[in-house]
C-alpha cells in the first residue's frame, strides 16, 4: 500500500483511467480514442472527459453508433500504425463487435505469422450493481478469455487503473480492458513519487497477479469489482477471529498468473474462485480446474466457485441476491473448512 506523500493524490478509478489515457496520448501521438459519445460528453461514464478538448477531434473520435464498425475500423487503423483505444459503451453492447474481435482482432497476428500487429485496447465498463436496465450489467469476460490472441485484464484500484491502462495501450497485443463500473467512483491513492510517471517503473507488470490480503487458511482468487467484496470478507473473518483469508487480485484473466495462484493455494490448501459472472464454463471454472490439476495434493477441500447464477443477468431488483456478497463468500469459506 502506498503511503501519503507529497506526490500522492487520492482519486477515483474513473479519474485514474482518464489520467492513464492522457499520459499514453501525451507519450505517443499514435494513440487515438474511439467510441460512441467519447468526445464532447466524455463518454456516458465520463471516463474520457476533457480529452477531446485537449487532444482534438482527430484523436478523440466520436464514432457512428455501430460497434462492428468501430471495431473493424480500429483494426484498420492499427494496421496503419495507430493505437486505437476503443470504448464499448456498456458490456452488453460488445456483441455486435464480437465477430470482429474474435475473428479478426484476435487472429491477425497469428495468421500473418507474426508480421502484423494490431495493438489496440477494447475498453468495456462491466459488471452489475448499478441498478441498470437489461444489457447494462454483464460480465462477459469469459467469452474473450476463451479466445486465443487476446489479452484480457481488469483493474480494481486507482493505482492499477492508471498503470494498467497505459500498459495495455503500450502492449503490442490487443487487450480487452474490463473496467469495473460500480467501482468507478471509489477513491484510492495514486502515488507517482518513486515512479515519476515512467511506464517502465509501474509497480506491477500487466499480466501479474497481486496478493491484496495475506492469509493462511483460504485463498480467494478474484478480480475487478469482486476484489472489494473479498477484501471485506477477509476483514470480517479477521474481526471475528475466524479463518485467515488470502485475497488474490488476478488483474490479468488471460494470461493467468499461475505462479501466484499456485503458491497461495499450496500454502492455504483451500481455494475459492470468486466472480460476478455466471460460473458455468467461465473464468471461475478455469480457475477451479487449474487449481485441481496443479495443486491436487495440497488441497484440503474441493475448489469452490462463487459467482452469479447461471441465468441471464436479472432485473435490478434481484441484484442484491444475484451478485455474490460478503455472506456468500463467508458461507463458502465455512463450507471449505468443514471438509
Amino acid at each position: 500500500m502506498s503511503t501519503q506523500t507529497s506526490t500522492a493524490t487520492r482519486m477515483t478509478i474513473a479519474k485514474a483511467l482518464n489520467a492513464g489515457m492522457r499520459a499514453a496520448m501525451e507519450r505517443d501521438p499514435k494513440v487515438v480514442l474511439m467510441g460512441e459519445d467519447v468526445g464532447k460528453l466524455g463518454g456516458v461514464f465520463r471516463i474520457t472527459e476533457g480529452l477531446q478538448k485537449d487532444f482534438g477531434e482527430d484523436r478523440v473520435i466520436d464514432t457512428p453508433l455501430a460497434e462492428a464498425g468501430i471495431m473493424g475500423a480500429a483494426v484498420g487503423m492499427a494496421l496503419r500504425g495507430y493505437r486505437p483505444v476503443v470504448e464499448i459503451q456498456f458490456d452488453g453492447f460488445v456483441y455486435p463487435a464480437f465477430d470482429q474481435i474474435v475473428s479478426q482482432v484476435a487472429k491477425m497476428h497469428n495468421r500473418s505469422l507474426g508480421a502484423l500487429k494490431v495493438p489496440m485496447v477494447i475498453r468495456i465498463p462491466y459488471g452489475g450493481g448499478i441498478g441498470a436496465v437489461e444489457h447494462h450489467s454483464e460480465s462477459n469476460e469469459s467469452y474473450f478469455a476463451h479466445t486465443a490472441g487476446l489479452r484480457v485484464v481488469t483493474c480494481s484500484s486507482t493505482e492499477d487503473a492508471y498503470w494498467m491502462m497505459q500498459q495495455a495501450i503500450a502492449s503490442d497485443d490487443p487487450v480487452v480492458f474490463y473496467e469495473p463500473k460500480r467501482r468507478y467512483h471509489e477513491r484510492g491513492v495514486l502515488d507517482l513519487g518513486a515512479q515519476g510517471g515512467a511506464l517502465e517503473n509501474a509497480p506491477h507488470a500487466l499480466d501479474e497477479a497481486v496478493v491484496r490480503v495475506e492469509g493462511s487458511d483460504v485463498t480467494v482468487l478474484t478480480y475487478g469489482p469482486m476484489v472489494k467484496v473479498a477484501h471485506a470478507a477477509a476483514q470480517a473473518a479477521e474481526l471475528e477471529d475466524g479463518p485467515s483469508i488470502e485475497v488474490i487480485d488476478l488483474r490479468s484473466l488471460s494470461p493467468l498468473d499461475t505462479e501466484v495462484i499456485e503458491e497461495s493455494v499450496k500454502k492455504t490448501g483451500r481455494c475459492i474462485a470468486l466472480s460476478e459472472a455466471q460460473t458455468f464454463a467461465s473464468i471461475t471454472s478455469e480457475l477451479a480446474a487449474y487449481v485441481q490439476e496443479h495443486c491436487f495434493y495440497h488441497l484440503e477441500a474441493p475448489v469452490l466457485r462463487v459467482g452469479g447464477y447461471n441465468i441471464p443477468y436479472p432485473p435490478s431488483r434481484h441484484e442484491e441476491v444475484f451478485l455474490p456478497d460478503l455472506d456468500r463468500v463467508l458461507h463458502a469459506v465455512e463450507t471449505l473448512l468443514a471438509y
Binding site: D37, D62, P96, H136, P315
Partner: protein
Amino acid sequence: MSDDDVAPQGAPVSTGGHEPPERDITDGGPDMVQFLAADGSRVEVTPTTEPYAAYLEEIDHEELRGFLRDLILVRRVDSEGFALQRQGELGLWPSLLGQEAAQVGAGRAMRPQDYAFPGYREHGVAWCKGVPPENLLGMFRGVNHGGWDSNANNFHLYTIVIGNQMLHAVGYAMGVSRDGDVGTGDAERDTAVMAFTGDGGTAQGDFNESLVFAAVTNAPVVFYVQNNHWAISEPNDRQFTIPPYRRADGFGFPGIRVDGNDVLASYAVTRHALDRARAGQGPTLIEAFTYRMGAHTTSDDPTKYRISAEVDAWKAKDPIDRMTAYLRAEGAIDDAWIEQIDAEADELATRIRRACQTMPDPPHEEMFAHVYAEPHRLIEREAAAFADYQSGFED
C-alpha cells in the same frame, strides 16, 4: 435544399475528425411531407403530398380530436415516467417529449393485426396499440426485462440493443408473407409490420442488413426512423451524410421524409406505407423528422453537448400546440374539451403513479423461472441451492 443534403463534392479533406457543415436542423427541406404548419395552419397539398392527403379526407372531427387526445395523454404518460424516475421509483426513463406526433401518427395508422417492433422510446406507439402504460414501467423499475405479452396487442418487447429489432421485424414480416397474409384484399387479414429505430440506429449493421433482407424478400414492413437529431451526445453528422429516407433508394424501395411533429402527416404517410405493405408491394422507409426535446434518458446531461437555441427553435414546432391551434381554428375543440382532456390526463397520471408505487418486487426465486422453455438440470440445481441458502437467513 434540405438541411441534410450536404455531401459537398470536392470538399477539403480532413484527417479524421470533421467539421459539421453549417445547417439548419429545424428545416426538413422540400421533400418533407407536411400538412400542418408550425402555427397549425393547413399546408397546401402539392403533387408530392397528394397521395398521402387522400387519407386525411376520410377523417372527421371526432377522429381528429382523438389524435389530439392521444398526443396529450401520451405526453402525460411520459412526464409521469420522468417524474417517477426523479422520485426514485424508476431506475431510468427515456423520454419521448417532442416525438408524440411522430409516434401517434404511426401508431394510429396501424391496424390491430399489424405488428410493431419498438426500440425503447416508443411509448406513444405502445399507447396506440392499446398497451397499458403501466406495463412499460416494470423494465425501468427493474422488476422485469419487458414483462408484457407482446402478442396481446401486437407490440413487441422493448429492445435496448440498438438495431436488433429491425431484423426481427423483417423476419416477422417474412413469416406474414409466407402465411399468405398480404395482398388478399381482406382488410382484416392483410398484415404489415413496423420497425422503429432512431437516427443513430441507422448506423448499425443490423439496421442495414434489415433493409437488405426486406428488399430481397419484398417483406411487408415499414421502417420508421425517428430522426430526433441526437444519438445521446452525437448529432446527425456523426451517423450519416445523407438523410435516412434517401438511403432506401440504394436498397431498392421507397423512402419518405415526413414532418414528425405533424401528426396528420405522420399518420397519412404511414397509412400509405402500411397499405402498400399489406397489398404485397413491399417495404417502405419513413424518416420522421422530429426532435428530442429533453435529455436522452434521465441519466443524460444534454447541457454538455447541445445549445438551448436549438431546443427553443423546436419548441416553436411543438406537435401538441400545432394540433390544438388547428382544431381550434376548425371549431373542432373548445376550452371545455381541453379541460376535460386535462382532467383525463390527471387521472391517467394518478393511475400510473399508483401502479408504479404498488408494483410488487418479484420474489427472488423467480430469477430461475423462464430461463429455458424446457427443464434444465443446472438451473434446477441452482434454484434449489439458492432456496436452501436463502432459507438459512430466516429465523
